[in-house]
């Protein structure tokens, strides 16, 4: 065999060996939060490699745009963002510095998960910074309603199918399975929360409007006097008085806030603090999107039972 023929065969073999993993390489997906990452894993299964940026136990408003995140975004085929300005302080520099044309806003690989879900607290009329750190296009904590989780999963299924049409049936089957498990979970969670419909609670930050609305609870006040503004003594005194007057016994908070003031408020009002997981991974038991609600609803129902005696 001539040398040129040998080289040709060798080159072909090497090319085939290199091409094979490329053909079956999973889509690289970067999600800005663990909730979106968890939903992507539900739909994408082993056809995707998912990286979540903000951990579930950190405040998603305050994330450092670290260079290690730039690397992750630079590799991504799809970038999924919460949107509604949740990541305004850290995602834009990551996108710019990633040098990745595929995931620039407006490109095929960019998905704003908020576009098809139910958004609450969209400000009307004039808004100013005097209102605190308001989100002009609505409350971004929308994933805390399982109904919105379903809509996000649908959007992810659509996006994965758009970029990997060959696995359309696989993604559809994964979605159907997720939808079935989520529906079964909703049945359980609604039954657990049904006795407490209309119960008033206080939350630390405006993280829970979708969760509370979904399960029929009424948020009567906030530990923060305005979004993003730490509690002040005068507001705390007013809140305690209002809780006492209205018989409110529960203060709901995220673990990344300091518990000192909420505990003081709850003590004064004769109630207790409930720490819920704001995101997947926010507490050890919240290992995926369904377990996030399993943990939160179980914890909330137990606290409501103790507070209301129902």
């Amino acid at each position: 065999m001539r040398l040129s023929t040998r080289l040709f065969i060798l080159t072909a073999l090497v090319s085939a060996a290199l091409a094979r993993p490329m053909a079956f390489a999973p889509l690289e997906v970067v999600a800005t939060t663990e909730d979106l990452a968890a939903l992507t894993r539900e739909i994408g299964g082993d056809k995707v490699k998912v990286t979540g940026l903000a951990k579930g136990y950190q405040d998603p408003h305050n994330v450092d745009p670290k260079p290690s995140f730039i690397i992750a975004v630079s590799r991504a085929d799809i970038l999924i963002a919460v949107g509604r300005e949740l990541e305004i302080g850290w995602l834009p520099p990551l996108i710019t510095q990633s040098r990745n044309a595929k995931i620039q806003p407006g490109s095929k690989g960019y998905l704003d998960a908020s576009l098809t879900v139910k958004i609450l607290e969209i400000p009307t009329g004039q808004i100013t910074r005097a209102m605190g750190d308001v989100h002009p296009s609505g409350n971004p904590h929308y994933w805390l309603d399982p109904g919105n989780g379903r809509l996000i999963a649908q959007a992810i299924q659509q996006k994965l199918t758009e970029l990997d049409a060959a696995d359309k049936a696989y993604f559809a089957q994964r979605y159907a399975d997720f939808d079935k498990r989520l529906a079964a979970g909703e049945k359980r969670w609604d039954a657990m929360m049904a006795p407490y419909k209309g119960t008033k609670v206080v939350t630390y930050h405006r993280s829970w409007p979708n969760f509370m609305e979904r399960f029929g609870l009424d948020v009567m006040g906030y530990v923060e006097p305005k979004p993003g503004i730490p509690p002040s003594p005068s507001h705390t005194i007013e809140l305690i008085a209002a809780m006492k007057a209205q018989g409110v016994k529960l203060v709901v908070m995220e673990s990344y806030f300091d518990a000192k003031t909420p505990e003081k408020i709850a003590l004064e009002a004769g109630g207790k603090v409930v720490t819920l997981a704001p995101s997947v991974g926010g507490e050890k038991a919240a290992t995926d999107y369904i377990q996030l609600f399993e943990f939160n609803v179980t914890t909330m129902a137990a606290a409501l039972k103790q507070a209301t005696g129902k």
């Binding site: 806003p105 098809t116 139910k118 993003g228 990344y256």
Partner: protein, 409 residues
């Protein structure tokens, strides 16, 4: 000194590269449709009995919760923000440049996406000296091969301090080494272009940057097209844990500068100095930053420790070149949600006299009511080379209106 002759060919080479890259990018990534909020078609859910109805699919025209689009002219307006930096100074400084009260700078920022391939940033600085384009550049975000290019007037990627705008500093002032050797507030801010690339090495972020400038800044000056100034930087970053990381960089810059040369008494010009132009100047810098921010307590605790070393070599007229060295080490610790405390030690020679050493130290305390305003107090002590001392107390009010900018990292 031999003028730098490679300027024109380098400019042409980079222009050709950019054009080719832009063309390749355009082919690889056809312009997508405008980023309108298109509702995702809702797949039919599995018919599973549910206690509550599955939320209705979003409206096919206006997605649920999505605000109605504003007029096109507003949609395409850039993000606009304005920052004011007010400084009050008290105490003694024989070389005082700060008035008792001054609105030292007003900075207006305009930032927007240009098209599918680029974004643009403009920073206009207004001070008592007038209005100036502090930066104004286009960033090509979609170049192939993990390259990125910036063209316009920009702050050079030399060390850590030079790229930071005054209002984003962790202290009221800049370190002595920055003031003495790297141009102070103005720094190396010049018209030119920058090309950088990131390298995807396991467990390590590496970024290499090369820049070319016309030579019209506080550090480099040039009267000839062929005498450009150049900056190169290598940066390596690694996460040590999920809460801590280390960032190390080295920078080099060279070009030409004008130097005021003292004249002998009774010189024929009658002026105490003459300006020598086109003298070679070189800078070399090394910087390291350690950051610690526990994720579970990220809004309450943070520690940054940083140090920079800069060597300067300035050619002189009819005299040996002057070599100077300067460095600082600084730290900031966030001890409560809205409070930071910090300190800095300074040491620096002077560009045209490396043996004249200024030393100093500062302590500062920052109250941060929100991301949009901060109040800072700083005590600054400097022992100048000639034996003079400065003991000052500075107070800074920094406030912003308009669009929410990204956090500095």
């Amino acid at each position: 000194m031999a003028p730098i002759r490679i300027g024109i060919s380098a400019v042409v080479a980079v222009y050709v590269t950019l054009c080719a890259a832009g063309s390749a990018s355009a082919q690889a990534q056809p312009p997508s449709s405008p980023p309108v909020q298109t509702p995702v078609p809702t797949p039919t859910p599995t018919p599973t009995p549910t206690p509550t109805p599955t939320p209705a699919p979003p409206d096919p025209v206006t997605p649920q919760g999505t605000p109605a689009p504003a007029g096109a002219s507003k949609v395409f307006n850039p993000d606009i923000s304005v920052n004011g930096n007010f400084i009050a100074a008290a105490g003694r400084n024989p070389f005082a440049t700060l008035a008792p009260f001054q609105l030292s700078e007003v900075e207006a920022a305009f930032q927007a996406v240009v098209d599918p391939y680029a974004k643009a940033d403009f920073f206009l600085s207004v001070s008592k000296d007038g209005i100036e384009v502090e930066e104004g550049f286009i960033t090509f975000t979609s170049l192939p091969g993990k390259f990125q290019a910036k063209v316009g007037k920009l702050r050079a990627n030399f060390g850590k301090m030079n790229t930071q705008h005054t209002h984003a500093l962790p202290s009221v002032d800049r370190p002595l080494v920055t003031e003495n050797l790297v141009g102070g507030d103005e720094g190396i801010s010049d018209a030119g272009f920058s090309v950088s690339r990131i390298f995807d090495i396991p467990y390590l972020f590496v970024e290499l940057t090369g820049e070319m400038f016309t030579g019209d800044s506080a550090v480099f000056q040039s009267d000839h097209r062929a005498q450009l100034s150049y900056v190169a930087r290598a940066r390596a970053y690694r996460d040590l844990t999920e809460s801590s990381n280390i960032d190390i960089g080295t920078s080099a810059a060279f070009g030409t500068a004008n130097v005021d040369v003292p004249q002998p008494l009774l010189s024929s010009s009658g002026s105490p100095t003459i300006q020598a132009t086109g003298l070679d100047k070189r800078l070399l810098g090394v910087d390291a930053t350690f950051r610690y921010r526990p994720l579970r307590r990220a809004i309450y605790r943070r520690l940054n420790i940083r140090s920079e070393f800069v060597w300067s070599r300035q050619a002189m007229l009819d005299a040996p070149a002057q070599e100077a060295f300067g460095a600082y080490v600084s730290g900031e610790y966030q001890f409560a949600r809205r409070w930071y405390a910090g300190g800095r030690l300074d040491h620096s020679g002077r560009v045209t006299d490396g043996t004249a050493i200024d030393n100093g130290g500062s302590a500062f305390l920052t109250f941060w009511p929100t991301e949009f305003s901060q109040v800072r107090g700083q005590y600054r002590h400097i022992r100048f080379a000639g034996g003079e001392r400065a003991d000052e107390f500075l107070v800074q009010f920094n406030f912003s209106i308009g669009a929410h900018g990204a956090h500095v990292f």
